[in-house]
């Protein structure tokens, strides 16, 4: 057995950097079986099994994802997830109860909820990454709460300051307030200038959304580690601003196009003569909604594809650079056809759609690298599942 000595051969030349492909080998048949058993046992156990279901689902997805022929793996523990899920359900129930039964406290409840979001995002990322491995080395997330809060506080402060400034500039009896009052006619309710503040705040927050998204992506990727490799995000905020602008423009176009289609249909009816009954009107509205929706899926696909490309192209683990080339049209078509299939099949084709999307997503991905063979392990520690489950329960989209 003398060739045992060859296991770490000296390497005079570093291997050339080349693009190493990602791949997803899951198929709809296999996943459907896992999915339906998950649904059945979850419903039959009034949700208890959902923790085990999540483990099986994620182990299937990760185990079928490969980079350069090496498979990912997911290691979450069902009991840990169940505990987190239990607390999350209680928290969500309390939130919903307060929201419905104490309408006066809504701002307070919402405030408390929002204040927790950054911490939850950090904990959730931490749980997920620590339970992810590639080549038997774990990913991890640097649990740093301060930058997470700073990232949220900054845009909120800017919007609030802007709202305060505008508030100071608006004349209580000026034409703007007059117009605002007329648009919001209400019996017995006098609109004070102070009622404008929430409106102004959200209005000013809107243009800051791309920045918020960018800051979040930078935070999440910048704190991610694979073994000893620290990830860096080199994307720029301008790219996000521009992407959001284009998406917004496309949505406007989609609306205009839907309106145009409706106008053509409407003229057609006029020529045919006869009374435009309620049914015809409902039909026209349905057409507008459907056309708009079909377009919205493509716009959404465009956004998702471009954002994923932007995010991954800006991500490097040391010298190892991620690459992604999702095509907007293809992505939009996947979203649209998946949804149609899911609705027409009463949900039975949901797993098929999920697999299709993942196959495409990973087929578009690669890692520009000389190979990961020399990466060494980092230190290990654990994070509970609570943050992750709360993020799940409140449906916070991490967008990764």
């Amino acid at each position: 057995m003398d060739h045992a000595l060859d296991t770490a051969p000296p390497r005079p030349y570093a291997p050339a950097a080349r693009e190493r492909p990602f791949g997803f080998s899951g198929n709809a048949r296999e996943y459907f079986r896992i999915w339906i058993v998950n649904v059945l046992l979850t419903v039959a156990t009034i949700g208890i099994y959902s923790a085990w279901a999540k483990v099986r689902r994620l182990r299937y997805f990760y185990g079928h994802t490969a980079l350069d022929g090496h498979h990912f793996a997911w290691h979450g523990e069902p009991l840990q997830i169940l505990k987190g899920r239990f607390v999350a359900v209680l928290a969500f129930g309390a939130f919903a109860a307060f929201w419905h039964f104490y309408p006066d406290l809504r701002f307070l409840v919402l405030g408390v909820g929002l204040a927790l979001v950054p911490a939850l995002i950090v904990l959730s990322m931490s749980f997920n990454l620590r339970n992810t491995s590639l080549r038997n080395l774990r990913f991890s997330f640097v649990r740093d709460f301060v930058p997470a809060y700073r990232m949220f506080v900054m845009p909120l402060a800017v919007a609030l300051a802007g709202a305060a400034l505008l508030y100071a500039l608006i004349d209580e009896h000026g034409s703007f307030m007059q117009a605002f009052r007329e648009r919001n006619v209400a019996e017995g309710d006098e609109f004070a200038k102070a009622d404008l503040i929430p409106n102004l705040f959200f209005l000013l927050l809107m243009p800051l959304l791309p920045y918020l998204d960018f800051a979040r992506v930078r935070l999440l990727i910048g704190h991610t580690r694979y073994a000893r490799l620290q990830a860096q995000f080199s994307g720029r905020v301008g790219q996000f601003n521009w992407l959001y602008c284009r998406t917004f423009g496309l949505f406007i176009l989609a609306g205009l196009f839907a309106g145009l289609v409706a106008a053509i249909i409407g003229f057609g009816e006029d020529k045919a003569g006869g009374e435009p009954g309620m049914l015809a009107l409902a039909g026209t509205i349905a057409v507008i909604v459907m056309v708009f929706y079909a377009f919205a899926f493509f716009v959404y696909g465009y956004f998702k594809a471009q954002r994923t490309n932007l995010m991954l192209a800006g991500t490097a683990f040391g010298e190892h650079q991620l690459v992604s080339r999702m095509a907007p049209g293809r992505t939009g078509w996947l979203y649209l056809s998946n949804t149609i299939a899911a609705v027409l099949s009463l949900g039975l084709l949901v797993p098929w759609g999920k697999i299709r999307l993942l196959r495409y997503q990973f087929a578009c991905m690669g890692l520009l690298s000389q190979g990961l063979d020399t990466v060494t392990a980092g230190e290990r520690d654990g994070t509970g599942a609570l943050g992750e489950e709360l993020v799940d329960a409140f449906d916070l989209d991490l967008g990764l």
Partner: protein, 372 residues
């Protein structure tokens, strides 16, 4: 050693570096796991654990120091692991059996259907019955505030008329009352002729409804129906069913992209309309049960309901108030002439409506009068 019988190919990851080594592994007669190349000392198989199996995912054997042996997921490798290691995995067997899968699909459909049709309403009735009554009071106050802000107008009814109706309302209340009932009057605005029951016992009647009633008995019959909503805690039940349906949809469709949620909400909406029809039916039953006790007949309810149905598409404009328009319509088109109109709209209407078909409701109240 590579060709030895009973040996399999695998990949070894030591857990300290990312490097992978292709290896041959076999278990000898003493139950000891060997590797070739011998990257580590042979260990008894009890010190190595096999992961539960998932379709197509590489099979893994883990040393106690977290080193990993990965085997491609083939039938031969799975059998080899089964021969030497304890393998857990009844779920994997379930997923592997086509018969079990077909049974699962049917069971899920049956369970989901039964939960949506019976489970959710029954559970929300159970929970609503056990929640304290006053829990919904702030919600009711807020609802009325919103309605006042966006839909209702102040009432145009005079004080004497309102007092008379309020006095009548007091006679309709159930014998044992554990909350304070209150009658409110509003201009209906977009809602037109309508009555609304809020969970704290506030019942709102619109001027339009009062206007098209020929007799206070008719209004009283409608008020009974609304009291039925309050007594059976319908607002809370509706809220809870909504939450129940959302949870169920989350379980089944959890994987679907967010944007599809809007389309998938449609079956949920239809289901909630079905619940709402059941609640209306229940409020009718309550009213039916109490008619005699308060000295009313089913005809009081049916005449007003019939009139409402025939004025369903009347919209008020600047020239004519709703009540005048409706009265003009009723004069011009007596009950019989309105029939074909109603028939054509009831074909698809029931599935989209929050109220049961008027015909069915009317028949019930008429039958009650005959039976007396």
């Amino acid at each position: 050693m590579t060709g030895a019988p009973g040996s399999v190919y695998g990949r070894y990851y030591d857990g300290r570096t990312a490097a992978a080594t292709d290896i041959v592994l076999w278990v000898d007669d003493y139950g000891v796991l060997h590797l070739d190349p011998p990257l580590r000392a042979p260990v008894p198989i009890k010190d190595v654990s096999a992961d539960t199996r998932i379709a197509g995912v590489p099979l893994s054997l883990r040393y106690s120091d977290d080193a990993l042996l990965e085997l491609a997921h083939t039938a031969r490798h799975a059998a080899w692991i089964d021969r030497h290691f304890q393998s857990r995995g009844c779920i994997a067997k379930l997923e592997g059996s086509t018969r079990a899968i077909v049974a699962s699909v049917m069971a899920v459909a049956a369970l989901a259907g039964a939960t949506a049709v019976w489970g959710v309403p029954a559970l929300s009735e159970f929970v609503a019955g056990r929640l304290p009554r006053n829990i919904a009071a702030p919600m009711a106050v807020d609802t009325l505030r919103q309605l006042d802000r966006y839909l209702f107008k102040p009432t145009a009814l005079g004080q004497p008329r309102r007092s008379a109706l309020a006095a009548r309302f007091a006679t309709l209340l159930p014998p044992s009352v554990d909350l304070v009932y209150r009658l409110e009057f509003r201009g209906g605005g977009m809602l037109g002729p309508n009555a609304i029951a809020l969970p704290d016992g506030t019942i709102v009647v619109t001027d339009e409804l009062v206007g098209i009633a020929d007799h206070d008995d008719e209004i009283a019959a409608v008020l009974l129906h609304e009291i039925g909503h309050v007594e059976h805690r319908h607002s809370l039940r509706q809220l809870l069913s909504h939450a129940g349906l959302a949870t169920m949809a989350g379980l089944v469709f959890g994987d679907v992209q967010a944007i599809s949620g809007v389309l998938l909400a449609m079956p949920g909406m239809l289901m909630e309309n079905a619940y709402s029809r059941d609640l209306e039916w229940e409020a009718d039953s309550y009213a039916l049960g109490r008619l005699e006790a308060v000295g009313l007949s089913g005809a009081n309810f049916t005449t007003l309901l019939g009139r409402l149905e025939r004025c369903a598409d009347v919209t008020p404009d600047d020239k004519q108030s709703f009540v005048d328009a409706c009265r003009a319509r009723l004069q011009a088109r007596p009950a019989a002439a309105a029939q074909p109109d109603a028939a054509s709209s009831t074909n698809w209407h029931p599935y989209l409506s929050t109220h049961p078909a008027t015909d069915a409701r009317l028949r019930r109240f008429k039958a009650a009068d005959v039976g007396r």
